[in-house]
Symmetry: C2
Subunit: 397 residues, 2 copies
C-alpha cells in the first residue's frame, strides 16, 4: 500500500514540505512503515521552474474528490479559504495536518469535531513553536501529568528584537528594522510586535491542555513596542532578561488565566537563555516538575519538519487520536481576567521618588527594583501611578 497526500499552498512552508519530503523520502517511508508520495500541490500561482509540474493543480476539487488522497498538508495560512478546504477534507475522512495557527486558534474545536465524526485526524504540531515538538508531547508523553502552567517564548521576531536590545544595546526601532532586513519581521510587524501571533499560539496550547476552546479575543495581550533599553539594562543588572512570555496557568478555582505580555525572566530560569529567533515552551506538571522544549519557531524547513511529522502520523494510523482534542466553549467564564495574575513586579521610577526599597539599582534612567511580595495587575498599576513609574513589568515565577 502507498499513502498519497496533497499539499495545499506552495508558499514558504508548502514548498518546504515538498523539498524535505523528497530529500528524506526513504527514511520517512521506513519510519511510516509504508510507501508515501505527494500526488497534488495546490496553488493558484504557476511555478514553471519547479520540478514536480505534474503534481500542481489550481482546483481544490481534484484533491477533495480523489479517494486515493487520505492525508492533506494545509500550508496556506489565514482562516479562509483554509477553513472551508480543511473542513471539506475532514468531512470526507481525509486527515489534515496544518501549520496554520490562525485557523486552529479560531476554528480548532469545529475541525477537531469534524475529524472525530469522520474517523480521521486534524493535526497541528507546526502551528505552535514551528519545529519544536510540543503538541504531541503535551497530550501524549506528558499524559500522566496534571499540568498547572505552561509558559513560552512563542514568537521569534520579538525574541530576536529583545535579544538585540539585550546583547547589542540596540533600540527597539533599530532592532525591528534589522529584523525586517533579515526577513524575520513583516513590513507590517504588528501581529508579531503587539503579541497577536504569540496569543494565537497560547490559545492553542490552552485549549489542548485545559480542554475547552480559548479564543484570541479572550486573552489579554500586550506586546513589546513600549520596552525601553533602560529597562532591558536595569532588568539585567537585577538578574533578569525581558522576554515576551505567552503563558497559561490554572487557578485554584479551576478557571484558567492565559496572557501574553513582556515579563522579566530570572537568569537562573533556563528560558532566560533562549535567544535570537528561537522559541521555547516550559511546561509545569505534578509528575515532571518542569520540562522545556526548545527550537526554531519558524522558517521553511523547521515548519515543514513539523507538518511532515504529522503527515507521517496520519500514514501510520487512521483512527482519531482521542487525547488531542478539546470541547467548544459557549462563553469565556472559565477564563480569569488578567488582574488575577499575581506576580512580583519590576518598577523603574524617578530616582528621587519616595519608598524606593533597599537594593534598588539607580542610574541616569531612574531607580529600578523588584518587589519582594506579589501584587495583582491593578495593585501594580496603582503603585506605578503613585510612584510616577517610567515602566513596570511582572516577573515570571
Amino acid at each position: 500500500m502507498s499513502v498519497k497526500f496533497a499539499v495545499l499552498g506552495h508558499g514558504v512552508v508548502g514548498s518546504g514540505v515538498v523539498e524535505l519530503f523528497y530529500k528524506n523520502k526513504k527514511s520517512i517511508e521506513k519510519r511510516a512503515g509504508t510507501e508515501m508520495d505527494i500526488k497534488y500541490i495546490l496553488d493558484l500561482r504557476d511555478f514553471p521552474d519547479f520540478p514536480y509540474q505534474d503534481k500542481f493543480t489550481k482546483d481544490f476539487n481534484d484533491i477533495l474528490n480523489d479517494d486515493e488522497i487520505t492525508s492533506v498538508a494545509e500550508c496556506m495560512g489565514g482562516v479562509e479559504p483554509a477553513f472551508t478546504f480543511v473542513k471539506a477534507c475532514l468531512d470526507k475522512g481525509k486527515s489534515v495536518s496544518t501549520s496554520n495557527k490562525e485557523l486552529v486558534a479560531e476554528k480548532g474545536d469545529i475541525l477537531l469535531a469534524a475529524a472525530k465524526a469522520h474517523g480521521c485526524n486534524f493535526f497541528f504540531e507546526a502551528s505552535v513553536g514551528g519545529a519544536i515538538p510540543i503538541i504531541r508531547p503535551l497530550h501524549r508523553c506528558l499524559a500522566a501529568n496534571d499540568i498547572n502552567k505552561v509558559a513560552g517564548i512563542l514568537n521569534g521576531t520579538t525574541n530576536f528584537i529583545l535579544t538585540k536590545m539585550y546583547n547589542d544595546n540596540m533600540t527597539f526601532s533599530d532592532a525591528l528594522k534589522m529584523a525586517q532586513e533579515l526577513g524575520y519581521a513583516e513590513k507590517d510587524p504588528t501581529a508579531d510586535v503587539e503579541g497577536y501571533d504569540a496569543c494565537r499560539k497560547i490559545c492553542i496550547i490552552s485549549s489542548l491542555v485545559y480542554g475547552r476552546h480559548v479564543y484570541p479575543k479572550s486573552v489579554f495581550t500586550k506586546g513589546i513596542s513600549e520596552i525601553d533599553l533602560a529597562d532591558v539594562a536595569a532588568a539585567d543588572i537585577l538578574g533578569n532578561a525581558i522576554k515576551l512570555v505567552a503563558s497559561v496557568r490554572r487557578l485554584d478555582d479551576g478557571r484558567i488565566l492565559p496572557a501574553v505580555m513582556p515579563m522579566l525572566v530570572p537568569h537562573d530560569n533556563i528560558m532566560s537563555g533562549v535567544n535570537d529567533v528561537f522559541n521555547a515552551v516550559l511546561v509545569y506538571g505534578d509528575g515532571i516538575d518542569q520540562a522545556m522544549f526548545y527550537g526554531r519557531g519558524a522558517g521553511k524547513l523547521p515548519t515543514a519538519s513539523a507538518v511532515l511529522g504529522d503527515v507521517i502520523e496520519t500514514a501510520k494510523s487512521h483512527s482519531t487520536v482521542a487525547s488531542q482534542s478539546w470541547e467548544p466553549s459557549q462563553d469565556s467564564s472559565f477564563i480569569a481576567p488578567v488582574d488575577e495574575l499575581k506576580a512580583r513586579w519590576y518598577f523603574r521610577v524617578p530616582a528621587d521618588c519616595c519608598d524606593i526599597p533597599e537594593g534598588a539599582y539607580t542610574d541616569d534612567n531612574g531607580s529600578s527594583f523588584i518587589t519582594d511580595h506579589t501584587l495583582t495587575w491593578n495593585d501594580a498599576a496603582q503603585k506605578a501611578a503613585a510612584m510616577k513609574a517610567y515602566a513596570y513589568l511582572p516577573v515570571m515565577e
Copy 2:
C-alpha cells in the same frame, strides 16, 4: 472496556508509578480514551503500610498467566530478572514500558524483535532523560528529519557536581560528597561519575536514531573525576561551561561516533545553561536545524511520568509502532573510534610553555586557551604531551 496493567517492582520508580496513576486516574483515563487500573504490583518485599494491599504479589506468574493483563510497567532495574520477565510478557503479547536503561542498552534489539513478533510494544521513554519526552519525539515528531547529531547532558549526578564546582567553587570531591548527602549520588558513585550511566543512555539514543544496536562496550566513555576546579574557572573565562556530554554523530562514510566525555560547552549554546540535576538533549536535523529537550533526568515522579506516558500509549493502541525499533548488530564496524572525533580543544599548560597563542588566559594555574582549528583525539594528546599540559578537553561544536 478497561485496561488492566501490572507494575513490576515497588522501589522508587514503581511506587511513583502507582502514586501518580491514582492521583491523576481520571484525566489519564480521559487521555487514554478508556478506563484503566493497576491489577498487580510485583515485589518480593512486604509493604504493610501501603494502601493497595490486594494488588501486591510475589509471584510473577500471577501476572504472566492473567490474560486480562495487556500492559506491564517494568521498574525493577538491572538486566536480570528484568530481561526474563519482560521477554516472557512480550512473548505473550503483553506490551511492556520500562525505565530500565541497562535492560534497553544491553537487550533492546531482542526485546523489540519479541514485541514485533507478538504484535505488542516495548516502550522505554523513561530510560533516557527521566521525565523528558525524547524517545517518542525522536522517532515520531522528528520523523521527517535526517538526524546528523544528538548531544546530551544525560546524567544528573555529574551535572549537579559540575554545577557546584562552577557556581560555588567547590572541589570535585566536596561536590560529590554533597550530592551523596542529598541523595543525588549513590554510595558507590562509579556508574554516574565515570560516565557509565550516560553511556547506556547514548547507546539507546544511538540505536534508535541510527537503526542498529549499539552496546555500551563499544562506546568510548570518560567521566568527570579528573576535572579540576582550575579548568572549570579557566573554561568559564574563555566563555564555556564544562559538562559531561554524551553524544553521537554520523560521519560522512555512514559510520557513527558515539562517545561520553567532559567537554567545554560555549555559553551561547543553550545547553551550557542546563544546571543542577537537570538533563537535556540537543538534536540536530536537516529540517529542524536544532531542538532541545530539557527536564528532570531522574527522581520518583518524573520517571514515573515517563513510564505512565508509555503505559497510556499501550492502552490507546495495540499494534506495534514500526518507527520505534532497531536491528541487532553483528559487529561494531559501523562505530567509528573516538580518534575520529574532530573538535577544537581546550588546553591548560604551564605558563612558561612555548607556543601559547595570543588571547590565552593566564593565572597561577597556568595558561589556558582554545585552539582555533580542529584536532583529532590523538593529535590533541600529542600536543598535550609536547606542551606538558595539565589538562585538555574537546569543545562541543
